[in-house]
């Protein structure tokens, strides 16, 4: 089998492992079953290993970092989400696996989107032939992974908060972490993502200056990455504003994630941009 064949096989296997892991995570949200939780983590880990192998194989085949078109970015975006989630799960000492039910489906959808795109390996166009590509896109993967994690945590927050507000206590509510913990974790994820997003914008600006002769040109991709940065800046400032922490902050994390998705997919499809790499 060729390298491309092995890459496709690893990618497909990773996709199905993520699918199985997602099913397990959703299952443990509704049924307290320790073994299912462990299985979910194991499946996600196995998926991540195979996904990593697929990314490495593509790197070998293309002889460059796999960051140059929609398929490649979708693949590493999903990889970043799963990595961010598993790091958090380990950080929480595997106590709150139910959070996986809010994060893993996003990774699965992004993987599904990637599988619909062309996997042809294209050589890099002149503007992309730069060392900044690795730094710029590499930091974007970490930023987007962290923002997706914050989105999942905020979604869990909103569900639990709604239940608590309406005094509707169900078993599901007790499997979701407490509101202060969800808020804390979400804030940590956004802080990391915000730092990385700042790096994405700064490295992108330095690269744009080298390639196009200007730091900033208000290209739709640049504008939307700045909008994303603004939304998360508001999120981080809610800590100091009366009436903003909690539910409103969680909604901001959800809106911020919608901006992330639009920056990545919407701009490429709907808006003419220098960054529209199909």
């Amino acid at each position: 089998m060729t390298v491309v064949g092995w890459e496709n096989l690893s990618f497909t296997a990773a996709y199905f492992l993520y699918l199985a892991a997602t099913c397990c995570y959703v299952f443990i949200l509704f049924h307290s079953h320790r073994r299912s939780g462990e299985t979910a983590t194991l499946l996600a880990c196995a998926g991540l290993i195979l996904h990593t192998a697929a990314v490495i194989l593509r790197t070998l085949e293309a002889e460059r970092a796999p960051f140059s078109n929609q398929f490649e970015f979708a693949s590493v975006f999903a990889w970043g989400i799963v990595l961010a989630y598993l790091v958090m799960e380990r950080f929480l000492r595997f106590r709150y696996r139910s959070v996986g039910a809010f994060v893993m489906p996003v990774a699965l959808i992004v993987m599904g989107y990637a599988s619909l795109l062309s996997r042809d390996i294209q050589p890099l166009m002149p503007a992309l032939q730069s060392g900044w590509l690795k730094v710029h896109v590499g930091t974007a993967i970490l930023a987007y992974g962290a923002f997706t994690l914050a989105f999942g945590l905020s979604l869990a927050y909103l569900i639990r908060e709604r239940g608590e507000r309406r005094q509707r206590w169900s078993a599901l509510m007790f499997r979701i972490p407490t509101l202060p913990l969800l808020d804390h974790l979400s804030r940590q994820a956004v802080s990391f993502g915000f730092f990385m997003q700042s790096l994405v914008i700064i490295t992108g600006a330095i690269w744009a200056e080298q390639a196009w002769g200007r730091f900033w040109g208000w290209d739709p991709k640049e504008t939307w990455s700045l909008v994303t940065w603004f939304i998360y800046a508001v999120y981080l400032h809610t800590r100091f504003a009366r009436g903003w922490p909690g539910r409103r902050a969680a909604w901001l994390a959800v809106i911020g994630f919608a901006c992330v998705l639009f920056t990545y997919i919407g701009v490429n499809i709907l808006l003419p941009s220098l960054h529209s790499y199909r």
Partner: protein, 455 residues
């Protein structure tokens, strides 16, 4: 009651009150959301229109400056509080005001087996392992071991907001004083440029395109030479530039920006016996006086093909099958008949008493020559911003104070393993309180592993 309402209304509209509103974090949130909404609107417009209507408008820039000033003002308002916090983490406050113990958010009293020295040693190892800086203090309340970390993080937000102002100032300075011009030229052309106030010449020594096997472009290269008028050292800079690799000299930057085509055109007028050789670029016309006609080159197709509708296009940028589309215009700039003609390079066409031959083609290069004095400030601001964010997020100001009351001191004098030492542990964190709580209780558990928790 009426007086009260009047007073309240007066307060609300007073400049001081408005200023207080402007300094508030709520105003900052509003401004950031407003900027987001306006940016989204701008991104949906065609790019040139968006620049004119939104992004380069005075009011958009004004909102940007207002936002930065608001964020800075919010931080400066809290400067006293930040300084106090910085001092607290340095231990000064605790020495000056012993009652500050009440300001700690966490308080746990524990009893440890052995002398105070043994407990202190164990605590020192644990706290140093968590990167705390330790100092021993003699407080009126007793002997204390103060552990602090993340002191620099107190000023994280201030540094971040100052950095944003530096970036904005640099960007505005660059926009006001910077220049950017595109110069097109063929190999051998010399373009005058002014560098640091002195006239210079930019010579395009060569330009070539590196094609891949599938005829896609791998890279564009321009060989540039910058020379001064000084006879002693005419050549001041020389470099083969390509996309992502510009030539920088004397504050000017020369970028590989674009490329184009030029067609060598031979025009002969048999009745007068006049012939001329000109280099035409697509879109360009040449008025040939003997015939009173203009040769107008409409387009150049490196590899000509037609789509299903018969429209012309180039299959690749590589010149495998080059053709030109041209027309002749009369004195009134009206096209003669036929309106447009397509010819291969090397072919001669006889038209309106003219013999026109497109003898050869050449590549031209587009060089962007820019100068931006604000660049360094923007870059410096970006670095400071990252430092500020790092301080804000990862230098978390925390303090743990272990206090042995004087009675405990006496009880353990002389130290003996038979004695118990009593101590109270205080904890405080500026932010990330959930994270600190976990660390604090982890520390207590580790310290009290051999002891007995009292409270």
């Amino acid at each position: 009651m009426k007086d009260m309402i009047k007073r309240k209304a007066g307060q609300l509209s007073s400049p001081r009150h408005l200023l207080q509103h402007f300094y508030s974090i709520q105003a900052g949130i509003f401004l950031l959301l407003l900027l987001s909404a306006l940016s989204v609107y701008g991104s949906l417009l065609p790019h040139a229109e968006a620049l004119e209507v939104v992004f380069r408008s005075w009011w958009y820039g004004f909102i940007f400056v207002l936002t930065a000033l608001n964020l800075l003002a919010c931080t400066l308002r809290r400067l006293q509080q930040l300084t106090r916090c910085f001092g607290r983490l340095g231990g000064e406050q605790n020495r000056a005001t012993p009652v500050a113990l009440s300001t700690y958010s966490h308080r746990v009293a524990i009893k440890m087996p052995g002398a105070r020295q043994a407990a202190q040693k164990r605590a020192t190892v644990l706290l140093k392992g968590s990167n705390y800086h330790l100092r021993t203090l003699m407080l009126p309340q007793g002997m204390a071991l103060m552990a602090t970390k993340g002191r620099a993080g107190v000023y994280g937000t201030l540094v971040t907001h100052l950095a944003l102002l530096v970036i904005l100032a640099g960007a505005y300075y660059g926009a006001l004083t910077g220049t950017a011009n595109i110069a097109f030229g063929f190999p051998g052309d010399k373009i005058p440029v002014v560098i640091e106030g002195d006239p210079h010449l930019l010579e395009i020594s060569d330009f070539y395109i590196d094609y891949r096997e599938d005829d896609t472009v791998h890279q564009y290269y321009s060989e540039l030479t910058v020379s001064s008028e000084s006879p002693a050292s005419p050549v001041v800079a020389h470099k083969t530039i390509h996309v992502n690799n510009p030539l920088r000299y004397g504050g000017k930057v020369f970028y590989q920006y674009s490329y184009g085509w030029g067609v060598e055109t031979h025009i002969y007028h048999p009745p007068s016996g006049t012939a001329e050789q000109v280099l035409l670029t697509p879109g360009e016309g040449y008025y040939f006086a003997p015939a009173g006609l203009t040769v107008h080159l409409l387009d150049f197709y490196p590899e000509l093909d037609r789509d299903d509708g018969g429209l012309l296009f180039s299959r690749s940028p590589a010149p495998h099958h080059p053709h030109v589309l041209f027309r002749l215009l009369d004195e009134q700039h009206r096209p003669t008949t036929p309106p447009a003609l397509l010819r291969a390079i090397g072919q001669t066409v006889e038209l309106s008493l003219l013999e026109i031959t497109f003898t050869d083609y050449r590549n031209s290069t587009g060089i962007l020559i820019s100068e931006n004095g604000g660049k360094m400030y923007v870059l410096a601001g970006a670095i400071i911003l990252l430092v500020g964010l790092f301080l804000s997020f990862y230098m978390r100001p925390r303090q743990i104070l272990l206090l042995w009351p004087p009675a405990s001191e006496l009880a353990n004098n002389p130290p003996s393993p038979l004695f118990w030492s009593e101590l109270t542990i205080y904890g405080w964190a500026r932010h990330d309180r959930v994270g600190f709580e976990a660390e604090f209780h982890h520390f207590i558990d580790a310290l009290a592993a051999a002891g007995r928790k009292m409270t």
